[in-house]
């Protein structure tokens, strides 16, 4: 295998940064009803896949996601960037899935594709888990590399440099494998106008749990192994004073620091 023929990229929709994120006090789940956006961290994963495709035209890049039906609107941006198609697992019964349930669903969706390489982002901006890839790799019984700050594909292997608490490692794994990339690995491209126009015509498949051979009680809240008991307030950290720069921000910073005798 010279280049991976099929690359799957796991991407998700997260609440838009400008929307006030809230956990619904009734369901104790993140309120996903507001505006959504493509998880920024995942655009780095897609970019890495698209670079392989740029270099080898037979490569197919498929986006695999789980989320509400409206997530397709955000995922279309991935098609506009250059992905070939999207598979979105969407099902009422999947709502409220935790790590264990999410990884079960995505593993099934990925098995259907059997890609040569699976790329994930560094973290979902809403859950900040930064762990899903490991659960996925285990379910798929595939080797894995996380926190990849670089990715080289050579002779059927993936090689990455990645940071740990002690500096940089170099890790290699045989394909097919799972790689989760750091947000420093690349600068994601912007969709071109042509890309945006073309995106609408690209395949956008939605699949249900039944399509994947999963029962409702295996996933969603029923299939989750963790739960949220209660919402509380974090320890207060004092007031934040806000300045909008109107050309005098530096002066205001000095004022603030001198008033507190820091300067």
């Amino acid at each position: 295998m010279l280049a991976p023929v099929k690359i799957a990229v796991c991407m998700k929709e997260v609440p838009d940064a400008s929307a006030t994120k809230r956990i619904d006090p009734q369901t104790l789940r993140l309120d996903r009803s507001g505006d959504g956006t493509l998880n920024e961290f995942d655009t780095h994963a897609l970019e890495e896949a698209l670079r392989v495709k740029d270099a080898s035209s037979e490569t197919e890049v498929v986006v695999v996601s789980m989320g509400p039906g409206k997530a397709m609107d955000s995922l279309r941006k991935a098609l506009a960037m250059g992905a070939d198609r999207v598979v979105l697992v969407t099902d009422e019964a999947a709502a409220g899935s935790d790590l264990i349930a999410t990884s079960k669903v995505l593993a099934k969706a990925l098995e259907r594709e059997s890609p040569d390489l699976i790329v994930l982002g560094q973290q979902a901006g809403d859950s900040d888990g930064a762990v899903l890839w490991a659960a996925l790799a285990d379910r798929l019984r595939l080797p894995m590399i996380s926190q990849a700050a670089s990715l080289e594909l050579r002779e059927g292997k993936a090689r990455s440099k990645r940071q740990t608490e002690y500096g940089y490692d170099v890790i290699e794994a045989a394909l097919p494998c799972v790689v989760a990339v750091s947000d420093a690995i690349n600068e994601p491209r912007y969709p071109s106008l042509k890309g945006i126009m073309g995106a609408k015509k690209k395949p956008q498949e939605t699949v249900s749990l039944v399509d994947l051979g999963l029962a409702g009680d295996e996933v969603g809240a029923a299939g989750s192994r963790t739960e949220v008991y209660a919402l509380g307030e974090p320890a207060a950290r004092g007031e934040t004073q806000r300045i909008e720069d109107e050309g005098d921000a530096a002066e205001k910073i000095i004022e603030y620091l001198s008033a507190r005798k820091i300067l």
């Binding site: 994120k21 659960a135 080797p143 996380s146 940071q163 890790i171 007031e239 000095i254």
Partner: protein, 327 residues
Amino acid sequence: MSPDEPLVATLVYVEHHEGEPVRGALGVVSKAADLGDDVTAVLCGPGVSEFASSIGGYGAGRVLVADDPALADPVPQPRVDVLEQVVRDQGFDTVLFAASVLTADIAAALAARLDAGLNWDLVDLERADGRLVGKRPALQDSILVDVGWKRDPSLALIRSGTFEPVAKGGDAAVQKIPVEVEEWSAQTVMLEQAHEERSGPSIEDADVIVAGGRGLGSPDNFSLLEELARALGGAVAATRAVVDAGWYPYAAQVGQTGRTVSPKLYVACGISGAIQHKVGMQGSGTIVAINKDPHAPIFEYADLAVVGDLHEIIPRLTELVRQRKAA
């Protein structure tokens, strides 16, 4: 819990580096002991038997050692095979990890293997009415959530730097455990292993830190921060994003996989304020953040939030600091 109820059996994965257990993991051992659990630690890697019994001093009654050359590389998957076996054989109720790059991967994979629940980023643990409750800051730490597990074993990753090890004295019984690594688990190899890179500036002792992130736009712009830091008599630090990109040395990185600092003043420039960055600098006296995005998460925990372009603000700020110092 009534006195005749059996103790909760808790397993703590203890990561080690260069022949020593890591502090964070010892902190978790101590915390588990404080909860009143029957604490067992597990160590994986060739040679771990040498320092295994010392973990007893932090509250572990027993230390399991997977002392095997198959575990030489600090990669997760072979460790998952070992832990799966141990948990199945010995039936632990709880498995705890001090979060790190390595343990996050182990914990999540183990959760999948055991079909168990994993809660991450916990900053506290307690037992209430006989059940384990984790405290997890969520939504950029704007809210603290009580989380739980629906069945055993309960797996948890503890946010780095949360619990301090408490030396109580005493030795633990050391027990060897079998190591059988599945073929596919051994498919990831480490070609080069990280060692402490101590070169470069020392930021841990600085009273003032000026830190830069990807918002600087290019590595050259670190000179803006160096000038401000010089004027303030401080040091320059960086985020992982810019260190990974090769803009600044790793020794200057603040955060989960970098240094933990607590200067009197921390000026964050072009830094979004990810949790993994926050854990390295939240102990700072005063936090000033300059970011052009009014929704940047760092503003949630800054004392002074400055919405604006750092390229305009920093040079002017440097000039003003110099003028003051000269006066």
